[in-house]
């Protein structure tokens, strides 16, 4: 029971790390970046490449792979999303185009990774990060990578939440999400803020990708897509664009899925996420933590 609670908290942290970048991009720039999962796997792949033949230690690997993931997403922003935004002033049209572009990007990134890995699952060698398990009495225990994931999720969640609320960059992001034109007239270089935001979103996916590559045992291109589906549920349940909503619903969904696996028919695990989406759309379509601007539509 206690062990399953720990499992749920770790899983919730995994989902939080994965979803926050997606939520940030969607909530502020209306980019539903379906390449987020591929970028996440890409970071895991970079980790694998950096560590398989060398003795590069964990922290530099984490930094390099996260930056690489950020750079890929930034490139997507500069090459595609920015142009689309300029080309289609109407939000809805731009959203659809960006969706399609991100599917294409997911394919390309996925193909590159699966080609490089011959479509096999990959994982950094044990030398990259040696995993220890700490017993908490009886059969209950937690590993160091699990602790790291939980701590990282808490740090990222708090930093992002506070950053968005309290820093000038955060205010600019919130203003941009609400009204890009006025924001630009107020002197905010919206292009730079959008680029910084997409970079941050990608780097967050990267951070999750690195930790998961070590934690899971084997990552493959499909892994990113599986998390993407759960992340949609998180965004819808939490309220699109709400950082706090995403965090709360990530842990809620983790708890629900863990309960199903632990005490119910585990093959219905994926069903939980979709059931929650459905219930949420019927009962409270704006999500748990809706933001004002989505009530206008």
């Amino acid at each position: 029971m206690l062990q399953q609670l720990i499992n749920a908290i770790v899983f919730g942290s995994v989902l939080t790390l994965f979803s926050l970048g997606l939520s940030l991009a969607w909530g502020t720039l209306d980019v539903l970046n379906l390449a987020h999962g591929a970028v996440f796997v890409f970071a895991g792949f970079i980790t694998y490449e950096l560590t398989k033949d060398s003795t590069m230690s964990f922290v530099p690997t984490l930094i390099v792979a996260s930056l690489a993931a950020g750079a890929v997403t930034l490139a997507l922003e500069l090459v595609a999303f920015r142009r689309i935004r300029l080309h289609f002033p109407a939000r809805r049209q731009a959203e659809l185009s960006m969706l399609v572009v991100s599917v294409g990007a997911a394919t390309v990134i996925g193909e590159v990774v699966s080609h490089q890995t011959s479509e096999a699952a990959f994982s950094p060698p044990a030398s990259a990060f040696s995993i220890h398990r700490y017993s908490l009495g009886g059969s209950v225990g937690i590993t160091n990578i699990q602790i790291l994931i939980v701590v990282a999720a808490i740090i990222v969640a708090v930093a992002l939440d506070q950053g968005i609320r309290r820093t000038r960059y955060g205010r600019a992001i919130r203003a941009l999400a609400y009204d890009p034109t006025t924001t630009q007239l107020l002197g905010v270089n919206v292009g730079a803020v959008a680029a910084a935001t997409m970079f941050l979103a990608g780097a967050l996916a990267g951070l999750a990708g690195v930790m998961l590559a070590i934690y899971l045992g084997g990552e493959e291109v499909a892994t990113g897509q599986d998390y993407l589906l759960t992340a949609f549920a998180i965004l819808i349940v939490g309220g699109v664009g709400s950082i706090r909503g995403a965090i709360v619903s990530a842990y809620l969904i983790a708890l629900a899925e863990t309960a199903v696996v632990a005490y119910g028919p585990s093959q219905w695990r994926d069903g939980v996420a979709f059931l929650l989406i459905l219930v949420m759309l019927l009962v409270r379509p704006q999500g748990l933590f809706a933001r004002r601007r989505f009530q206008r539509a």
């Binding site: 062990q3 399953q4 499992n7 749920a8 770790v10 899983f11 995994v14 379906l34 999962g37 599917v103 997911a106 394919t107 996925g110 699966s114 011959s118 479509e119 096999a120 699952a121 990959f122 994982s123 060698p125 044990a126 995993i131 398990r133 017993s135 059969s139 225990g141 590993t143 990578i145 699990q146 998961l212 899971l216 045992g217 084997g218 990552e219 493959e220 291109v221 499909a222 892994t223 990113g224 897509q225 599986d226 998390y227 589906l229 899925e257 863990t258 696996v261 632990a262 028919p265 585990s266 093959q267 695990r269 994926d270």
Partner: protein, 400 residues
């Protein structure tokens, strides 16, 4: 395109790949529409791309290896096998189109694709055209009854269940729990209808079976569930990355018992789990260190051709399917090869005790002797390689 593709994406990409496939499909036939007496044209409708491309590529490699060996050794006299590859893109409709083209061509035999749906859809075309179809990999029970021209060479897990059950019992393991891919009908059925009763019969208590969707990647809660009740062993009837992921999750959550699995753990699938996967055992058609002469020959040929790769069962299957065909041709003498002579050759081959292939002594089993069975081997994964635990006997499941 791999499994992770979203539906619309798969559609778009599928169209693109189908287009590529049709243009490159017959590039290796050398355009020999009329089979001269010196050539033996055959077509392999292969999963070159798509869902099971990782299988298709290996089967093709093995088959090409056999063609090269057969053509250069002169075992068919001056006649040469000319292999055409048609890409099914792991898609039933494409496979059907490609098979229809293959049976209309001058091919004297066809080799079918790997997925059950593809195999079931394409076999009737071969049967109607009266051309021998050697199916690769499809385990479906409805496949062979399609007709007398339908043969199959497949690495059937069913065949090896006895090997695993026997080993679990031999290790003195009193109990087990099995986790299976709930969205994979073959593995689900195999678990509940075969493994569970056979294990129970051998005196191993099955404490429970747990279905899990193939899309799962985070297994810590499942690991905790599996460990409860302290089963002495845990069986994994799952595919792909779920093998290393489950082993990792089980070991990291402190599980000390034995973990065993099924053949999808082969071909390096366990590498990501590192040394945590040591001791994991499963049964396969072929492994690099098989002691049989014919196996050693295949391994050597493969290593010459692909010095950096390790040969696995799929390579061996492709090789063996072609070897079975060549043996049938040679049994029919040195005259021109026709579709009818291939069938007769296959029947002779079945009656005369099969052939020696990459997997060892291979025989024809089943009610009409059209199920081509390799001996199989139980292997244990240790430090990045498969080690032989026990050699199987061809047609083992027939004796049970």
């Amino acid at each position: 395109m791999a499994r992770w593709a979203l539906a619309p994406l798969a559609l778009i990409a599928g169209l693109a790949i189908a287009a590529c496939g049709s243009s490159s499909g017959s590039s290796e036939s050398g355009g020999s529409k009329e089979a001269s007496s010196g050539t033996i044209p055959v077509t392999f409708v292969a999963d070159q791309t798509g869902l099971v491309s990782y299988v298709g590529e290996k089967v093709i490699a093995g088959m090409k290896l056999a063609v090269e060996e057969i053509n250069s050794s002169g075992e068919l006299g001056k006649r040469k096998i000319v292999l055409s590859i048609a890409n099914s893109n792991s898609d039933t409709a494409t496979a059907t189109t490609q098979m229809a083209a293959a049976v209309k061509s001058n091919a004297v035999a066809v080799f079918g694709p790997a997925l059950s749906a593809e195999a079931l859809a394409t076999a009737p075309l071969a049967q109607r055209a009266k051309v021998v179809d050697i199916g690769t990999l499809s385990e479906d029970t409805g496949f062979l009854p399609i007709g007398n021209y339908i043969y199959r060479l497949t690495c059937s897990q069913l065949r090896y269940d006895p090997l695993i059950v026997e080993h679990v019992a031999k290790l003195g393991l009193k109990s087990t729990k099995i986790v299976y891919a709930s969205d994979n009908p073959t593995l689900s059925e195999e678990t509940t209808e075969h493994m569970v009763p056979e294990l129970e019969k051998a005196g191993v208590k099955v404490q429970g079976t747990v279905g899990v969707p193939s899309t799962t990647t985070e297994f810590s809660s499942l690991a905790t569930k599996l460990e409860s009740g302290n089963p002495e062993s845990i069986g994994l009837m799952v595919v792909g990355a779920a093998n290393p992921d489950l082993i990792t999750a089980l070991r990291h959550s402190g599980y000390k018992g034995v973990i065993w699995g099924e053949q999808s753990a082969t071909a390096g699938a366990l590498v990501p789990a590192g040394e945590l996967a040591n001791g994991f055992f499963y049964a396969v058609d072929y492994t690099e260190s098989l002691p049989y002469e014919s196996s050693k020959k295949f391994t050597e040929l493969f290593k010459q051709k692909h010095p950096k790769e390790i040969p696995y069962g799929y390579d061996a299957n492709g090789y063996d399917a072609m070897k079975a065909f060549a043996k049938a041709v040679s049994l029919e003498g040195s005259g021109p090869v026709t579709r009818e002579s291939v069938l007769k050759g296959m029947q002779k081959e079945a009656a005369s005790g099969g052939f020696e292939g990459a997997s060892g002594k291979t025989i024809f089993v089943g009610p009409e002797h059209r199920d081509i069975a390799v001996p199989g081997v139980l292997v244990e994964w240790k430090d990045g390689a498969e080690h032989i635990v026990k050699l199987g006997t061809p047609g083992l499941e027939q004796q049970q």
